[in-house]
């Protein structure tokens, strides 16, 4: 990517979040998009690039009345929106379009007009994983964790700490689904889902969506909101089957994507003021901290347990409460991006004082793919 030439000029989530039984998934896309266009002072006529995942960008573009000259339907799971940001930056730099709208929506809880989750029995996963009882993320994404725990002496209490700390952040966020404080014991006494994972170590299932609008940094100064610049981006993918992940203690996709984003941005870890790591389950922030290089291997859980990521800590992490406490409609990457943008605009409910650089790091599928975006609120 060419350096420091793109900015986010519109960002919004759906008007409501949580349970939205009276709205279809398609309308959730539109609701988020209309809110983001209002935020940017634009209408559909001003948008000439469209991207979404899961649902078709054709469907979203037509529903909103957008005639794009650039279309991206990259759909690699919950981090797809990080990849869209990366692709959009390249497209705008190349002159393929000027103003890109990226949307996510999922009626994850109410399932109004939502896609069905199914795997073809002739697919690789359908042949070599599904027959053994995997059904959904709680029985797939969790499988590597025990190997990690044994290798590094990490305990169930350590995993519980991740959920406890994120609830501390959620308590400051009026839009968070769960805001009441929890203890390690609360987490360890919550319902067993797939040992060693308890209910409070697993993400929520909610309805909602979000949208971003990107344009060139040059144009960004003319928009109503404070521009949030993109310093660097990364993406990668590894395997469609969790069983075929090369190393159960580390994500190759995380490492490749993170390294690329840091390299493009030309920043050091000490420069990062705020961090979002897609937390579908409690072990994800631990893998993320290590694979992005914030912690040495095996030290991510202790880093969280020791309080470095909690309110007041030196590396504020998942400040909206994360997928564990804020919301998770199915493809959470969009909400991580939204929180990074809020932090860079200085308007987050749990604002990190004077934050200048924020990273949003996403996972797609079950360690299948990854995308990383480095943001800054300082003009390049």
């Amino acid at each position: 990517m060419k350096q420091k030439t793109i900015a986010v000029v519109g960002a919004a989530e759906t008007t409501e979040m949580g349970k939205i039984p009276d709205t279809s998934q398609l309308m959730l896309h539109a609701d988020a998009a209309l809110n983001a266009m209002k935020d940017a002072g634009l209408t559909a006529k001003d948008i000439d690039g469209i991207a979404t995942a899961g649902d078709s960008p054709v469907e979203v573009a037509h529903y909103l009345g957008i005639t794009p000259t650039w279309v991206d339907g990259t759909s690699v799971g919950g981090c797809s929106f990080m990849l869209h940001v990366r692709h959009a930056a390249a497209a705008i730099n190349e002159g393929l379009c000027n103003t890109v709208l990226i949307t996510h929506a999922e009626s994850g809880r109410s399932r109004v007009g939502a896609r069905r989750f199914s795997r073809d029995p002739a697919s690789q996963s359908g042949q070599f994983e599904v027959p053994f009882g995997i059904t959904s993320p709680p029985t797939m994404f969790t499988i590597p964790a025990l190997r990690y725990m044994k290798q590094y002496g990490v305990t169930e209490e350590d995993l519980a700490h991740v959920a406890v700390v994120q609830r501390e952040w959620a308590a400051q966020n009026p839009r968070a689904s769960f805001r009441d404080p929890i203890t390690v014991d609360d987490v360890l006494n919550s319902k067993m889902i797939a040992w060693p994972f308890r209910m409070l170590m697993c993400c929520l299932v909610t309805d909602g969506g979000g949208a971003l609008i990107l344009t060139s940094a040059e144009r960004a100064k003319d928009f109503p909101q404070k521009p949030v610049y993109i310093l660097g981006t990364g993406e990668s993918c590894e395997t469609p089957m969790i069983s075929q992940m090369e190393d159960f203690t580390s994500s190759k996709a995380f490492r490749v994507s993170g390294k690329k984003a840091f390299g493009e941005a030309g920043i050091k870890h000490a420069d990062v003021d705020h961090l979002m790591i897609y937390d579908a389950f409690a072990h994800l922030p631990v893998y993320g901290l290590e694979d992005l290089g914030f912690c040495d291997k095996g030290e991510g859980a202790a880093f969280i347990r020791d309080g470095h990521t909690r309110p007041g800590g030196r590396l504020p992490l998942n400040t909206n409460g994360g997928g564990l406490s804020y919301m998770h409609s199915g493809m959470y990457g969009m909400y991580a991006l939204q929180e990074s943008v809020r932090q860079m605009r200085g308007i987050a409910p749990a604002q990190v004082p004077n934050a200048k650089i924020s990273i949003a790091h996403g996972v797609g599928g079950m360690f299948a793919a990854s995308g990383t975006i480095v943001f800054s609120n300082e003009a390049p």
Partner: protein, 138 residues
Amino acid sequence: MADYNRPLPTATPETRHFWEGTQNGELRLQRCTACKESYFPPRPFCPVCGSRAVEVYKASGKATLYSYVINHRPRPDFGTEPHSIAVVTLAEGPRMMTNIVDCPQTPEALALDMPLEVTFEKASDEISLPKFRPAKKA
């Protein structure tokens, strides 16, 4: 087997040898004749060097337990008790998903790195699934 109502695999031309193997009580892997790498899942070329010169062979059936969860979410087709969903490392190198059977489905009974051996569970006339059980002590 008559009441087997779990999802079953559908073989493709590239995986048929594997499912024919399990039906005949054999765990079949593939190996590159150029670089000697064993690999899984099946495909008619080597994922390491790209060579199409590959062969099917009968694996030892020995493995060790790499990682797992014990599912407590309702899966009526898997019975009423919690059950393991595991990934094992085959003696030949590749990893595969399976269930650990013939032992209690508890953290105490399922120790990482424990030695395992393959056993085949007949699910239909066409499909037998490779499962793993604690290795018998020699």
